[in-house]
Symmetry: C2
C-alpha cells in the first residue's frame, strides 16, 4: 500500500483551525475571527442535521416529512395549513409541496381536502398519527439537543441564545422574505 502520487493516507476532513489557517493563507484579507464563527456555524448545522436524519430514519420518516409535521404543529390546533402556505414556510415551490403531501397522505400523516368554503383552497391537516410521529421526533430531538448543549453553563446558554437571536434579527431584517421563498437548504 505505497500510495504513490495523489494523496497519502487519511485526507478526510480538516480540523476547524486548520481550515481557518488555509483561508488566511489563500485570502489574507479575511478576518479569522469572523471566519471561525461562520465556519463553525455551518459545520455545526450540518452535523446536527445528520443527527436528526439518523433519528428520523429510526422513526420511519424523512427529513422532508418532518419539516411538514413541524410546520403544522407550530400553527397549533386544528393543525391546518394550505399547500401554498406550507410551501412558503418550508422554502419550497408549490409543486414540490404537492408531491410531498401526496406521499404524506399515502402514509397517513396528513389529510388533504378541498376547503368547502372556498373551493380554490386546499386544507392539509395533521392526523393523530402524524401528531404522534411529531411527538416521537421531538422527544429524540430534545434529548440530542440537551446532550449537545450539556457542556454549557446556564449563563453561556443564555448568552449564546441572546447573541444568535441578535444575529438572526439582523439577517431577517435585511432579507425581508421579500422574494418569496427562502431558497436553499434548511
Amino acid at each position: 500500500m505505497t500510495a504513490a502520487a495523489g494523496s497519502p493516507g487519511a485526507p478526510q476532513e480538516l480540523d476547524l483551525d486548520e481550515q481557518i489557517a488555509a483561508y488566511q493563507r489563500e485570502f489574507p484579507e479575511v478576518d479569522p475571527q469572523v471566519e471561525k464563527v461562520v465556519t463553525a456555524l455551518g459545520r455545526l448545522n450540518r452535523r446536527m442535521n445528520v443527527a436528526y436524519g439518523r433519528q428520523l430514519v429510526d422513526l420511519g420518516i424523512s427529513n422532508s416529512e418532518w419539516e411538514v409535521l413541524k410546520a403544522l404543529v407550530v400553527v397549533g390546533r386544528p393543525y391546518r395549513l394550505g399547500p401554498g402556505d406550507l410551501a412558503k414556510r418550508l422554502g419550497l415551490t408549490p409543486a414540490a409541496m404537492t408531491h410531498r403531501i401526496d406521499r404524506m397522505v399515502a402514509e397517513g400523516l396528513v389529510t388533504r381536502d378541498r376547503d368547502e368554503a372556498n373551493r380554490v383552497r386546499v386544507i392539509v391537516e395533521l392526523t393523530d398519527e402524524g401528531r404522534e410521529k411529531w411527538l416521537q421526533t421531538m422527544r429524540l430531538a430534545a434529548a440530542f439537543e440537551d446532550e449537545l448543549l450539556q457542556d454549557l453553563t446556564p449563563v453561556e446558554r443564555a448568552a449564546l441564545g441572546e447573541i444568535l437571536t441578535r444575529l438572526l434579527r439582523r439577517v431577517e431584517s435585511s432579507q425581508p422574505d421579500a422574494g418569496g421563498r427562502l431558497e436553499d437548504l434548511d
Copy 2:
C-alpha cells in the same frame, strides 16, 4: 378579498419567540432555552445560505460549484484532489461528484486528468479561472459576514467563536465521520 375560512392575511414565517412558545405549548417538556439556541442556529444558517446563494448567482456559479472550489482551495497548491476524496469532503456520493465535475470542466473551473502515476486515480485540479472565481466569492462572502457580525463586540465575537467551537468538537467526536459520507445538506 375577504379571506373567508382558511388563513387570514399574512401567515408568512413566525417570529422566533412565537415559535418557541408554540413548541412549549405543544410539547411542555422542552427546554425553551435549548430550543431557542437550536432554532436560531438553524434559521441563521438558512438565511446565510440564501445570502450566499444570491451572491453566487451574481457571479454565475452555483452553490454546488462553490463547494468544490472551496474544497480545492483549502488543500492549497497545486489545488488537486481526486473525485472520491472530494465526494467524501462534501458529503456526496462519488456518482454525484462525477456529474459535478463534468459541469465544472465544461465551464473551465477545473480540469480532470488521469493520474499517470496510478492510472486508477483521477486528478481534479483548479484552473486559474476557477481560483479567480473563488477569490471573487470570498470577497463577497467576507463582506456579508463582516456585516452580519458587526453588531457584536470583539469580546462577544471571541466568546461566540469559542462556544461554537466547543459544541462542534462535541458533535464531531460523537459522530466520528464513521459511516463515511456526511449525509444531508450543507
